[in-house]
Amino acid sequence: MIQLVIGQLLNGAIVGALYGIVALGITLTFGITGIVNFALGAFMMLGAYFTWYGYEMMRLPYPVAVIGAVVLVGLFGLFADRGLFRFTRNNLVNGLLVSIGLISIIEASVLLIWTSTPKDLTYVLPGSLRIGGILLPKIKLAVFAVLLLVIGATYLALTRTWVGRAAFAYSQNPEAAALMGVKTDRLQTVVTVYSTALGGLGGALYASLYSLEPTLGAYYVLKAVESAILAGIGNTIGALVGGIIIGITEGIGSVFLPTAFRDGYGMVFLVLILLFKPSGLLGSK
């Protein structure tokens, strides 16, 4: 029993970190452009498929395939921003709907090109480590480490570099930031593209853990939005914490309560947070 619980705890944390990286994209985009980009799930799915294509079809080494996929997804993000999201800044409902249109286009295109047959590359890094009686697959540990590293690096970039501080300032007070010489339009594009690249990275790593289907993004982006809200939207490290909390709640929840309602546990938690502490778990007010 104890082992099962600890196993679920670790598993939940790893899945939660995946939620977290998409949640980070959601939070950043929301802070800077005022929209919730649900299409990040579709970009995540694209990242996963590109990685699969690079590794399986083009025989690239896995890390190269991941980097290639992230860059490609970033490019798609750039097109999406210049062509679409540029017109929906600070308009929540329109942004939501444009991202939904984009999701339909991306998902259906992937279905057309690669069909709905699940793709699998979970054999990238076989083997597992045994730590105190608990078996942990190496690949999960590697993915977890990369995710923590990227989220940590993003946090450092936001607090230490000029662009990051500009983004931070802008999310606090757009007018003041603009007066201090932050180029609004460029900043918004950079953040949107970076967020899609984060989604792409989440997908690229996801590809090594589970089999791929064109609909995987829809599920993850919902969890990511939950995670982002849970910790308080706009909070960088909070996105990771929120993701891990949701991941663990689901993991532990399905040990003690029926697994069928797995997706519901995170949601109950989210609703309670929104009702009683709308600024999020880590929020100040």
Partner: protein
């Protein structure tokens, strides 16, 4: 102009069957009517009260399931089953709405919480196998009977359902129209335009938001009651977020600022993919492209092209 269009449109819909020959055309238009009715009731909450609800599909689905279960498993008459189904939807909406509005959830947060409630209801439907038959869905074989002075007719056949669907649409439309023309409609507008100001002027924000949400959701339930009996099939997909989003897309395509806009949007989005012969994937791509096009190029929707706001707000 904006007053005449709906009357002309509904009147021509009454006589249109004289010109329609094929059953498939009837089917497409019937689906169009039913989804347009959903879009109209949704716009009461979204366009006129300014609350982006993701509960609409759940309201629709719960009513569809409940009517079907009462009729098939408990042998109720269809018309009798509508009453508890609508009551259940109304009470659910009352509970969800009361929670959301009591805690003053707005915009995005309201959308997310209604989405969460809607998903929880869907999970219950998916997993309550003994009653709902889970992901497989239920087949509805019973056919409701309608008693007329001339004798009873069973609701079957393309032409009959065409008129049933039209009746539901017109009923939904008229109810929304009457509500919006009354003082209630002005309170909704106050909430949409400036909540704080409305409150200062003595509008009970909580009550009217709740009224809009419960009324809109119950009307969605009304469509749901009939929908399952028309298609002969009910599945958990009815309650999905995708279904809610489809409704949002219809409303936006038609025009948010009008009562008739959603009718156009609903009809078009239902009919268009069938009018052009496409594979399922290309159809979804076209759907996404239309959605994006409308938002970016025509933000006030198709009906917005015909009408100009009477007052600049």
């Amino acid at each position: 102009m904006t007053r005449i269009i709906p009357i002309v449109a509904f009147a021509s819909a009454v006589v249109a069957p004289l010109l329609i020959r094929s059953d498939s055309t009837f089917a497409i238009i019937t689906f169009g009517f039913l989804l347009a009715a959903l879009a109209v009731s949704f716009n009461l909450i979204f366009g006129f009260t300014g609350q982006l609800s993701f509960f609409h599909a759940a309201a629709f689905g719960v009513a569809a399931y409940m009517t079907a279960i009462l009729v098939s498993d408990y042998g109720w008459s269809f018309w009798a089953a509508i009453v508890p189904a609508l009551l259940a939807v109304g009470l659910l909406a009352l509970a969800v709405g009361a929670i959301c509005f009591r805690f003053k959830l707005r915009e995005f947060y309201f959308a997310v919480v209604t989405m969460a409630f809607s998903e929880m209801i869907r999970l219950v439907v998916v997993n309550w196998n003994s009653v709902t038959n889970g992901t497989l869905g239920m087949t509805v074989t019973a056919q409701p009977t309608l008693w007329l002075p001339t004798g009873s007719i069973s609701l079957t056949g393309a032409r009959t359902w065409y008129y049933v669907a039209l009746l539901i649409l017109v009923a939904t439309y008229i109810i929304c129209h009457r509500v919006l023309a009354s003082w209630i409609g002005r309170c909704f507008a106050a909430i949409r335009l400036n909540e704080q100001l409305g409150e200062t002027l003595g509008v009970n924000i909580f009550m009217y938001k709740l009224l809009s949400f419960v009324l809109g959701s119950t009307l969605a339930g009304l469509t749901g009651c009939f929908y399952g009996f028309y298609t002969g099939f009910i599945e958990p997909q009815y309650l999905s977020i995708t279904q809610s989003l489809d409704i949002v897309a219809m409303v936006l395509l038609g025009g948010v600022n009008s009562l008739f806009g959603p009718v156009i949007g609903g009809m078009l989005l239902t009919a268009l993919p069938h009018a052009i012969n496409l594979t399922a994937e290309l159809r979804i791509i076209l759907y996404g492209a239309i959605l994006i096009f409308v938002i970016i190029v025509m933000p006030s929707g198709i009906f917005g092209l015909f009408s100009r706001p009477r007052h600049a707000v």
